[in-house]
């Protein structure tokens, strides 16, 4: 049942994503790309748990690398997106 529930979440999110993304205008697609990119770094959650509580050294090391990578993705993505959008909104009025 959990699998089906997860599947339900997946389907609903896909609909939400489709409806919203198709509404975003072309000129915002580059910042969207890096923003979406940052969101995909949400795997950071998994990495955090594994890195912080891995019971073996190997798991901890893998988790560490995963956290570093995911954090780069998240922090970098949001910042790049922010810098780009800032320029839009200054001019967008």
């Amino acid at each position: 049942m959990t699998l089906v529930q997860n599947l339900t979440l997946f389907v609903l999110s896909a609909f939400v994503g489709y409806e919203i993304i198709t509404k975003i205008p072309t000129n915002l697609h580059t910042p969207l790309m890096s923003g979406a990119n940052a969101i995909s770094g949400v795997t950071l959650l998994g990495s955090v748990v594994v890195a912080g509580s891995g019971s073996t050294l190997l798991a901890t090391a893998l988790g560490f690398a995963a956290v570093v990578m995911a954090t780069i993705n998240v922090v970098g993505g949001y910042l790049v997106s922010h810098f780009m959008l800032d320029q839009f909104s200054q001019r967008g009025k």
Partner: protein, 478 residues
């Protein structure tokens, strides 16, 4: 399983994840308008903060120092990269970040398997299946993105491996990866005890998928990299969603799926605006060589050159000017010079607008981002449909660093690789000035009859240098 606030019921954690999911969705909804987009990005990052903070506080962190170190290192590198990047390097940076996201997914799935095996807890089918998927997608994304970013940055050459050998490698590595994944899934049921010995099958999968990722992207033309990156972005989202299935985590599923949808839609939009199929982009390649001989025919004796002084004289008597930027403006970083020119013209009462083609440059919205950086007002940038009907009433069109997006062959020659792609009909204007460094073709590798048209003059030179020169000449003559 009990961190700082871990004593509270599980529902609290789930609820916080739900809030984070809502923030992600609301953040994306705000991206539908430039006015609210910055706020949307902020909301989305707040969602990420909530999700991470709750996770850190909730779970028992055995080694908080390791975790803190990893967060600091990653955050530092990410911020440093984001701050020092140039706008032209954006595509490859996004590609790089994207790869890291995918890599993290693959590593986490691996670490989870190692952990479960070590604790002797057994590997349920649900976990192995989804771990295999996350490992496959994550590894392909990581290496594919690295190659794509390397190509965009000029670090990896465009020259493909022999096509047949390439296809062979792809098939072999894919089969190997699938075999690794299959072993991972099937083994726990067949062999009772030795769980430890089946984990390596995951790493077989990862290695095979990594090689696959490299060979998938290497043969694709450098200019198609944005499509590849958008697609890989979609993959890394799907990898995150899959990890959510492994870890039974709501916010991973929701956020991952949103990214998956976003990447897929961007990919489709880019392919459609180039009038090519995704399969053609990924496995086709453009027939750029065969066409080169036509060029001489088309251009022979029909090219007129012009200079900054002559262009200045045209501008002096113009009432309406349209500027069409392209990839070359991005390469030359000419946007500030262009913006300055526009300002001067406007001061003198000339009506100036930008004609922005949806696939001008190398990313969707590339030109808009560049011009916004140079403080060009949002309402001066006109889309293809808006600006096309106005060219017949336009005195001067300045094309700077664009080529394919103003190529009339898209309308006239059905066999051309850009056939059917809507283009900016700049030829209808009274005079067309084309600024580029040579007569060499653009992304699609085909000649451009526009350059040979009677009302077209070529203004050769690097976009930044030429535009700056034009600005100087214009200033002097006032």
């Amino acid at each position: 399983m009990a961190g700082v606030i871990g004593g509270l019921p599980d529902a609290v954690l789930q609820f916080a994840y739900l809030i984070a999911g809502i923030l992600f969705i609301q953040g994306l909804r705000d991206m539908t308008h430039p006015r609210t987009a910055t706020r949307g990005n902020g909301i989305s990052s707040l969602g990420m903060f909530v999700a991470v903070a709750v996770t850190v506080l909730w779970f028992e962190i055995l080694s908080p120092l390791v975790l803190a170190a990893a967060l600091l290192v990653g955050g530092g590198i990410g911020a440093w990269l984001a701050v020092r990047v140039e706008t032209t390097e954006m595509p490859q940076l996004v590609g790089l970040f994207n790869g890291f996201g995918g890599g993290a997914s693959a590593l986490v799935a691996g670490a989870e398997l190692v952990d479960l095996t070590a604790s002797g807890g057994g590997l349920p089918v649900g976990v192995t299946v989804t771990a295999a998927i996350a490992g496959l997608i994550g590894s392909v994304t990581f290496w594919g993105s690295l190659v794509a970013a390397g190509k965009l940055h000029g670090l990896v050459g465009d020259s493909p491996v022999s096509t047949n050998a390439g296809h062979g490698i792809k098939v072999v590595t894919l089969l190997l990866a699938l075999a690794g994944g299959g072993t991972l899934v099937v083994q726990p049921g067949l062999v009772g005890g030795g769980l430890a010995e089946i984990v390596p099958s995951y790493w077989v999968l990862v290695v095979a998928a990594s090689v696959l990722g490299v060979f998938l992207v290497v043969p694709i033309g450098g200019a198609d990299m944005p499509v590849v990156i958008a697609l890989l972005n979609s993959y890394s989202g799907l990898a995150a969603a899959t990890t959510g299935f492994v870890l039974d985590n709501t916010v991973l599923i929701v956020a991952g799926t949103l990214v998956g949808a976003s990447g897929l839609i961007l990919t489709v939009i880019m392919c459609e605006s180039m009038n090519r199929s995704l399969v053609n982009v990924l496995f086709g390649g453009l027939g750029s060589d065969e066409e080169s001989e036509d060029m001489a025919d088309i251009y022979e004796g029909n090219i007129s050159e012009t200079s900054a002084e002559e262009v200045e004289m045209l501008l002096d008597v113009a009432d309406r000017v349209v500027i069409v930027p392209g990839y070359g403006m991005a390469v030359a970083q000419a946007q500030h010079a262009v913006a300055e020119l526009v300002e001067l013209l406007e001061e003198d009462g000339v009506d100036v607008e930008f004609g922005i083609h949806p696939v001008a440059g190398r990313m969707p919205g590339h030109m808009n981002a560049l011009l916004a950086e140079a403080d060009v007002p949002y309402d001066k940038m006109r889309e293809l449909e808006e600006v096309n009907p106005t060219f017949s009433q336009t005195d001067v069109v300045i094309v700077t660093g664009a080529n394919d997006v103003v190529n009339p062959m898209a309308n006239t020659d059905d066999s051309s690789p850009i056939a059917g792609m809507p283009v900016l009909n700049v030829g209808e204007a009274r005079s067309v000035i084309v600024n580029k460094r040579s007569l060499s073709p653009g992304f699609s590798g085909i000649p451009n009859p526009l350059f040979a048209q009677d009302n077209t003059s070529m203004f050769f030179g690097d976009a930044k240098a030429s535009m700056q020169e034009l600005v100087n000449v214009y200033k002097e003559s006032r």
